[in-house]
């Protein structure tokens, strides 16, 4: 009997073992909800889960690197978007100021965008996106809500070229707002201008506001030009050397108002 069983075992050992493994598997499936098996399952999967968690940092580093790359790209895009929004916001603010000024001054303007600047050393000219079709004419004053910018030099059908206050050839008749002293303003360098032709004993002080006098046909009176920053006697002894800082920051200029009213061309 025993020998027979042993023979059977030897001949069909693999089948017996195979059947045993299947039987055990089926038993596991049948009793997988039993408390001891559940406990064992939880314990083993819990402890191997911890090990997996420790090992998981390896692909996680790779993952983090990839995510970091993506985030950097997104950040770049968002930063660009933010810059664009800020640009729009600032443009909106500037245009609102211009609009307010237009309403307050009672003058008729055309708002123009600066689409180009002079490329020669001293940038005294600007290219505007408005021309004859928009009511622009030669020698019309250019300004912002802050003050005088220059005048129109050439006018095309849809574009025009303006001469800035910072052009070495630009002159404008001006007066001191407080004392009504008159002189000629021309650009010196940077945002500084000089007011010439003011006698030494004239009532001129640092901080005084300088406006267009209105004596020229090009510029209407009362447009702000700048504030006096220095008053000194000229070498000749007859006149004062008056330095003023322009109200307009020419470095950041983006839009201007073209005055529609003015002298005939």
């Amino acid at each position: 009997m025993a020998a027979g069983f042993k023979g059977q075992w030897e001949r069909n050992r693999d089948r017996f073992v195979f059947s045993g493994t299947l039987l055990f598997s089926l038993l596991l499936m049948a009793f997988h909800q039993s408390p001891p098996l559940l406990f064992l399952h939880k314990t083993i999967s819990g402890s191997t889960g911890k090990i997996q968690e420790w090992i998981f940092w390896i692909p996680r580093v790779w993952d983090v690197q990839k995510k970091n790359q993506k985030l950097i790209e997104q950040l770049g895009q968002l930063s660009l978007q933010k810059n664009r929004y800020e640009e729009v916001l600032m443009e909106n603010r500037r245009l609102r100021h211009l609009l307010n000024f237009k309403e307050r001054s009672g003058l008729d303007f055309v708002a123009a965008e600066i689409i180009g600047r002079g490329t020669v050393g001293v940038e005294g000219s600007i290219l505007l996106n408005k021309g004859q079709n928009d009511g622009c004419q030669k020698n019309r004053a250019l300004m912002t809500e802050r003050g005088l910018v220059g005048k129109l030099l050439f006018v095309g059908p849809s574009t025009s070229v303006g001469q800035l206050l910072t052009d070495p050839n630009f002159r404008v008749s001006a007066k001191v707002q407080r004392s009504r002293v008159v002189g000629i303003v021309r650009w010196l360098y940077g945002n500084l201008c000089v007011m010439e032709g003011v006698p030494q004993r004239s009532d001129v002080r640092v901080g005084d506001r300088i406006l267009t006098s209105g004596y020229s046909q090009v510029f209407p009176p009362g447009i702000a030009i700048g504030r006096i920053v220095e008053v000194a006697p000229e070498k000749s002894g007859l006149f004062s050397r008056i330095l003023l800082r322009t109200e307009v920051d020419f470095g950041t200029l983006e839009e201007v108002l073209v005055l529609k009213d003015g002298p005939p061309e």
Partner: protein
Amino acid sequence: MILLLLLTVQSVFVPYIALWDVTPDGVLVFLIYWAGRKERTWGSVLGFVGGVLQDFVGGGTLGVYAFSKSVACYIAGYFPKSRVESPVWLTGGILFVSAFVHQFIYCVLTCRKAAAGILIMFLRYGIPSAVYTSLVGMAAYGLADLKNRRRETK
């Protein structure tokens, strides 16, 4: 210990090489390779042990992997033991048959209540996984074969 390490690798790293949600079964590749170097009886035992470990490590129903891997390794055990030195296509074929059977049993045992049904699940995941497993296995066996040949040459 190797099996536990392999199970960890399987669960942590293998998802990164998933193609259309299909992953190769590295544990099966290893078990069949190992079973091929032992006597036939050992095939099902190794499959069972590996399957049980996979059952306990994973969160699924206990015994499912044990059952399917026992059968897969038993089938693999029917082929010549020297399969490591066999042509790659034969190795891949053996592995594919084993993986196919393994996936079939696994799908039958686990997807009975799947909304898509057993057949769809088997077609969508089972067969692609068997193909992927056999391809990975062929590469792994090829490397092992190369290593063995180098050792023999030395």
